[in-house]
Structure formats: structure tokens, C-alpha cells
Symmetry: C2
Subunit: 301 residues, 2 copies
């Protein structure tokens, strides 16, 4: 089954202690949709300006993404984020954000998108996430990602969204912010009370925790000796998760969600090994399967 | 088979945002030996002063610990540590350390201890750890724990120790300090080069990583909704690990080490649920087995 991904399509300028890389293809929807495309047909909903390089569009196409929902704004500037990582590659600082065409974007979905069964509301303003949901007719499974910014400046809209989705994905500090609870495990029931039946807390290199009607699941992260650029790892995780889930023809969400998270974690690991999407886009399905097997081996007891 | 545990036997005064608890039974050897005692016969080597409450000795006895190696120094003061935890229960500050009888302690093992097959050098000065090893005759498996303090003030002695042990246990920030490597996975081979064939990096609530001749193993931590006092959790982990390992009658270390870590993680979880040893000492073997089964369920995929 198909996945619809909405989120940011961006140009990212990324500085690490070792390197500086301007105007890479980035954005939550770019990472998530490419990750999903390894497993299933994926529709990308986003907006770019006139400065968006055609090679990036070709890269989307290479991954078989349906681009009917990718708006090009004449004379507009593509959303641009720049950030700098500290030497530990976990802490980062945003250096600049230029919203460009995303600022006043009001997405209108192509007509035949409304029946897409799996909807991934990748990180973007909750107004846009809600607006996309408004246009969907009874999707089977809706996952939303968010970030601290929206909890700070658009909490009401986030809370409205939480009542409409099946699964919220957020990181541990955001879970703390949303619930005022320092203990991650204790934060989970508080998030369920806000709406979603499934909650996934991302912990970066420490893996992720799923809380579902079937209880908890502790997903490991794939251990990497070298992290080149973690930008987009969380988006890759949730994109891979959703793509894998949608690719399962029979069985419930509960049956497949654990392995979906493992597949998401593996795509995220490839994402971290290069700047932007450079390694992810060169990854093959057998390489993904090999890392999933490795994770089975190193996490079993 | 028996386990010999050497380390600190202390009185801990622990402050958390919710409570203050003076002069609890604490110390690396107390936590580690009690944890080990759930699985096998355990010998405690330590030193206490005249102020050491007899109820603490009774508690050691209740757990069947052999106390021939526990020295009582007349007129001496027991090692006393006091610390305060921040609201997240991960960060802590040492408020005071009074070395007391531990300062000039030169342990001499009871004669029949020298053939103990499993030796756990719980956290204490590396001079004392080396001195105990000097008195052992070809132990089967030696595990050592350490802390940042010894890496700062007695690095040479730590490096000498590393060449003599089978397994080093340390936390992620200590691994960084020892290797100058920010990536935990990349730090592992550097630690192997210093001596130990097995390296375990503790990550608190995020579990632990084992690096062994058989490759990596990612051990989960038991997820707790409420952490009352994490003091001694690392000692409980390594004590439980060693006790479980020593209790296995057939099979190699490699065969049992993963499950040994899981059992250690479970004892550590009980430790965190109360101040000092208050919950650990009330724990039963069936409760331990139940949490091991739960971990199997919530970590499998």
C-alpha cells in the first residue's frame, strides 16, 4: 500500500567539526520519503522555490517518488536551514532558518491522494499537518513527527493534531517538554492521554521506545563507529518505519511495528554515514536486510 | 562457583529532589556482593570502621555473604560518601567524601580466597584492585569496574590493571575519557588494545554495550517508571552479571555473558527503585526471573 509523506523539502547547509557542506538536499519529507521508498510506493507532498536544483528532483524520481504533490513556486526561495554540530555529533545549533516558500504554503493535495492508506506527517508546522489530514478520507494509519519549536509556538495546534493521529513520534527531550515528566517511561502514558494509541520516543544512538496497546518495545539503534552527519536520521527512521509497515500485505500494525522500527533504525544508520542524503540514496535493499540481520544478532539474548 | 568481590563498603548520604537519606549502607562492594549473592556463593572483601552499624553486617549475612575478608578497624571511621541528584535523576554532584579507614587500607586476603575462580574488582582505587589480584592464583575470570576519579589521579595504575583482567566495565563518559574518542562504538577497540578481551560500556537507562571476541551485544536496561535512587546501580549490574556467570556450571563465558548482562540489568533496576540497598535486599529470585522474562518480551523483534 502507498504512503503519503508531507513535510519540508529543504536545502540544508551543515557544518561539522570536520567539514562544511552548503545547500544539500534536506528536509523532513525528503529524508522520510526516500526512506519509505525502499519498501513501498511513496507520494511526496512539499513545496520548493525556483532555486531548487533539478538534480534533487531527479534524485526524488530515481527513488520512484510520486511528485504530483510537490509544488514549485515561481520566483520563490526554497526553505533553507543551516546548522552546526559539536564534536560529539549529538548536540547541534541552528545557525539560520530561511522559511522562503514554506512560510505561506497551504498544501492542496492532488485529488487521488485523499485515499492513501498510510499518512506520514513528517516534521513541519502542525497547521500544515492538520490541513493535510483535513483532506484525507479515513486513512488506515497516521503517524506524525514533531519538534520542540512547535511545542513552543504552536502547542494548541499540536494538541489538536494529537487527537487525530494513530502514532506520535518525538524525541526524549520533546517528550519531557510535552509532559513535564523527566522519566521517559513515565512520560508515555501521559502522551497516550493526549490522543495517540502508539507513541515512539526516539533516543538517537540509544535507540527508540515504542509504547502500544501491546506494551513496550525497546528498539536498538544500529551501532555506528563513525557518524558523519545525523541530520535527517529521525526523519529517515520514521520514513523507513512507515514504508515497511505499508509494505506488509497481511497482519495488524501490532504485528509489524517492531520490525518496522528496526527497518527504520537501519535506514537512519545509513543516513548518519554521509552528509544529507548522500549515503541513503546509494543504499540498496540487500544492504538494508544485511543490517537488520546484524541487529537481530547483536540484540538477541 | 564462588565469586570474590572487593570494593568499598561505605555509608552513603543521598539527597534527591524528593528526599534526604543519611548514612545508608552503600559502597561498590556492598551493592555488587549482594547482587552476586542472588546467584552464587559470594565472598566480600572490604574494610569498615567502628561506626559501621551491626545491622548492616546482619544484612550481609542474610544474603549469605562470606565475611572473612571484611576487616573491622577499631576506632576507625567507615568510608562516607554524600551526593545529591538533580531532578532528572541522572546527573549527580558529590557533596563530600570522607575516606576514613579506606585511605590506608592494604587488603590481605584470607588464605582460602586465593583460589576463587571469579574475581570482581568493584570500583575502588586501582592500587587496591591490583593488590588483590597479586594475591590470587590464576582466577578463571576477572572483571574490573572503575570510575573517572581513578582515570584522573591514578591512570598508570589503571593501565597496569587493564593488562591483567579479562573484562573492563566502565560508563560511556569514562570510555570517552580513557580513549579520547567521542563515539562509544569506536572507543571499544581502543580499550581492547589496552588489555581486556571483554569490554562493557554502561549507559544507565539506555542499557549497556558488550564488545567481545564474538562481536557486539546491545543489552537493554529494564525500563522503570520511577527512579528513586540510582546510586549503586552500576555496581549491582556488574555484581549480578558476575554472580550469574559464576553460577553457570557448563559452557564458556561467551555462551553466558549476554544473559549475565540481562540479569545484572534486572538487579540494577531493583536497586534504582529504593534508597541504598533497601529494595535490592527485599528482592527474590522469582522477581528477578520475572523481570528477565519481561525484558525478553519487550526487547524481542
Amino acid at each position: 500500500m502507498s504512503v503519503l509523506v508531507v513535510g519540508t523539502t529543504a536545502l540544508d547547509s551543515i557544518k561539522t567539526p570536520k567539514s562544511e557542506n552548503p545547500r544539500l538536499l534536506g528536509g523532513s519529507a525528503s529524508h522520510a520519503a526516500v526512506a519509505s521508498s525502499f519498501f513501498t510506493h511513496t507520494q511526496l507532498v512539499g513545496v520548493v522555490g525556483e532555486d531548487f536544483p533539478s538534480q534533487h528532483v531527479r534524485l526524488y524520481r530515481k527513488h520512484g517518488l510520486c511528485l504530483k504533490g510537490l509544488e514549485h513556486v515561481k520566483g520563490g526561495k526554497t526553505f533553507h536551514w543551516s546548522g552546526e554540530y559539536e564534536v560529539n555529533m549529538n548536540n547541534r545549533q541552528t545557525l539560520a532558518t530561511v522559511l522562503g516558500v514554506i512560510e505561506h504554503w497551504q498544501p492542496t493535495l492532488p485529488g487521488d491522494y485523499e485515499a492513501t492508506p498510510h499518512v506520514l506527517l513528517a516534521n513541519i508546522s502542525p497547521q500544515i499537518q492538520n490541513r493535510v489530514l483535513d483532506q484525507m478520507s479515513r486513512p488506515k494509519f497516521v503517524v506524525a513527527d514533531t519538534m520542540d519549536l512547535w511545542l513552543n509556538i504552536a502547542l494548541d495546534e499540536v494538541l489538536r493534531l494529537l487527537k487525530r493521529i494513530d502514532c506520535l513520534v518525538l524525541n526524549d527531550s520533546e517528550a519531557r517538554q510535552l509532559t513535564d515528566e523527566h522519566n521517559t517511561v513515565a512520560a508515555l502514558p501521559k502522551i497516550h492521554k493526549l490522543g495517540p494509541r502508539y507513541v515512539i520516543i526516539k533516543k538517537g544512538e540509544h535507540g527508540a521506545i515504542l509504547s502500544s496497546p501491546k506494551g513496550l518495545f525497546l528498539a536498538p539503534a544500529y551501532p555506528l563507529k563513525k557518524v558523519v552527519d545525523p541530520t535527517g536520521a529521525g526523519d529517515s527512521f520514521v520514513g523507513g518505519l512507515m514504508g515497511y509497515l505499508a509494505s506488509q500485505k497481511v497482519g495488524s500494525v501490532d504485528k509489524h511495528l517492531r520490525r518496522a522500527m528496526i527497518h527504520g533504525a537501519v535506514i537512519a544508520s545509513f543516513c548518519c554515514e554521509g552528509f544529507g542524503l548522500s549515503v541513503t540514496t546509494k543504499t540498496s535493499r540487500p544492504q538494508i536486510t544485511a543490517r537488520v540481520r546484524e541487529l537481530e544478532k547483536i540484540a538477541g539474548f
